[in-house]
Subunit: 341 residues, 2 copies
């Protein structure tokens, strides 16, 4: 079998080590929030203050609970597995549990872990390492329906918006899959492709592979990456847009962001209609009838009044549902998506 | 020193092996055509019918001629170094000459060659393997001037157009560098970055690295890759466009091409004004005053009358110089570029 996507087997044990605070445990918290049914428990070093509210497991009770994969739910400072985590992780791997992480240092570069995994017949899964057999994109039209998150910038809520839209579609009984394109999304979904980590020639091929032919009424809700506006990452975004062949896009934005996050330059974010227009113009090269189903905006820094003014102003101005995915939810966007697709 | 671009040391010995015909020796022919001053000679197996018109050298005479690098100027069927080439290549590497190639199989994966290079203190340079230390693009504005080739598709003459424009600028005494973004271009220029082979997150960083700060009147003439319209490779093209921060673009096209080369779909090439408009719209995100300096069109399948009609029609319609870079040359585009920049 050709390996074209990363895959993690549930149930999970979320490993937190000695994570000092919740900020560094976002991945674990995300998995526990979006996929509680996949989380059998958590495991921590003594004194770890972060608690995801899951059953506390050790190697034995994890085995008893049927855990298949230990997911490192923490981003340690420096991106390396700290020395003090190794005894527990080694014991888990030696017991036959797969270990998955998305750190800068690869699990497969840690000799003790490699030896333990070999002895336990466990896999070490680095979700930042793309699968080996991704093909070049061929542009073949595909069956099924697809909606892709596009952003005004990085870190504006694309993953959250996709997960929330996916949940809203499922709530309505619609057959839908969340398609993860980044490491945290992959750990939440249990599968996916880290699109930003593939070789440049294969970006759209990765997107095509990630959202394959499907039933006519099935929706793939695809996590976005980067932004077409980003001086750093626009290539990833365009390859993902073309390869996804989306029926619709959802623009994701942060209401307080006025400039694109680029270390060396001053790049103001244009008006949202211009951003949508650019994205649709590009999208329609591979998906001629692509439309924008709404704008998902992080307004967490606003009070209720400000938020309401901001969202209603943009809804009127753009003629599209503009929501905060947390404060308002994705219902209006799901309505618009299903109405016009 | 951090390694951010591939570099080959001249003079070269062009190695042709037992290449059966000129079609497979395009790289060697390109180097001999564009950089004759770097070519000390050629080396072939007995009976090889391809002749680049260079002095015939062997290991000894190559050493005497001061050759630094043996460039494999042939694309063998299957992308592998044929068995029968190895004795000569091993002897050259053992004698201390670097070996450079852009084949599918890496030189560094051939044990005999690795051993010979080690004993001769020679380097094996795989020009398809990107340098290790390419940074993420940061969007910092740079000094100097840059013109980038953009294409309606792959293989429409971007490399040729860039080399011809570079030569035309140099002919006028203008300080200019050809910046290679693909393997053949790198072997011609003696340096560059294979932009399509870097990890997706680093495309624009590679482009920034390739065309660094320069004198105010210096022109970087940057080889393009792919096309913003390509369902397969658009990500590479947009990252390259944003990272290059071009003052101007030159659109490259093949007059007989009506569809984009994509294995699985039917993607007509839009009217050229629309292609230019899309490219400028994207380019201006990182280079606000970017303009199109002309269109370089391969019309080799047309007779003289057809060519003249085609080029004059497009020149009038687009209001830009439209030339065939071989039949007409790049003079009108160089004029327009220098007039309006």
């Amino acid at each position: 079998m050709r390996l074209t996507r990363i895959s993690l087997e549930a149930p999970y044990l979320l490993y937190l080590g000695d994570c000092p605070d919740e900020t560094h445990a976002k991945t674990g918290a995300g998995i526990a929030h979006w996929r509680p049914q996949h989380c059998a428990g958590q495991m921590r070093l003594d004194g770890c203050p972060v608690d995801l509210g899951l059953p506390e497991l050790n190697v034995e009770t994890a085995m008893d609970a049927g855990v298949k994969t230990v997911v490192v739910g923490v981003a340690p400072v420096g991106g390396q597995i700290p020395e003090q985590w190794l005894p527990q992780l080694v014991a888990l791997a030696a017991a036959g549990l797969d270990i998955a992480a998305g750190l800068h240092t690869k699990l497969s570069d840690i000799p003790e872990l490699v030896a333990a995994a070999a002895s336990g017949n466990a896999k070490l899964i680095d979700v930042r390492v793309p699968p080996a057999d991704i093909p070049v994109g061929d542009g073949r039209p595909r069956s099924g329906k697809r909606v892709l998150m596009v952003g005004t910038d990085c870190a504006v809520g694309k993953k959250y918006s996709a997960l929330a839209l996916h949940r809203e579609l499922q709530r309505r009984g619609i057959d839908a899959s969340f398609r993860a394109t980044g490491q945290t999304g992959i750990m939440i979904a249990g599968e996916g492709i880290p699109v930003d980590a593939v070789v440049a020639d294969f970006i759209s091929g990765a997107a095509e592979t990630l959202s394959p032919d499907n039933d006519d009424n099935h929706w793939d809700v695809i996590e976005g990456q980067g932004s077409l506006l980003s001086p750093s990452y626009s290539g990833v975004s365009l390859g993902l847009l073309h390869g996804s062949q989306p029926d619709a896009i959802v623009l994701c934005h942060d209401a307080t962001r006025t400039k694109i996050d680029a270390a060396g330059g001053d790049y103001p974010i244009p008006e949202l209609d211009e951003v949508i227009d650019d994205a649709l113009r590009m999208a329609r090269r591979t998906s001629a009838r692509c439309f924008c189903a709404g704008v998902s905006i992080n307004t967490s820094m606003m009070d209720d009044f400000e938020r309401e003014m901001y969202l209603s102003k943009h809804t009127t101005y753009l003629g599209l549902p503009c929501v905060d995915p947390v404060a308002v939810g994705m219902t209006p966007i799901a309505d618009f998506l299903l109405e016009y697709s």
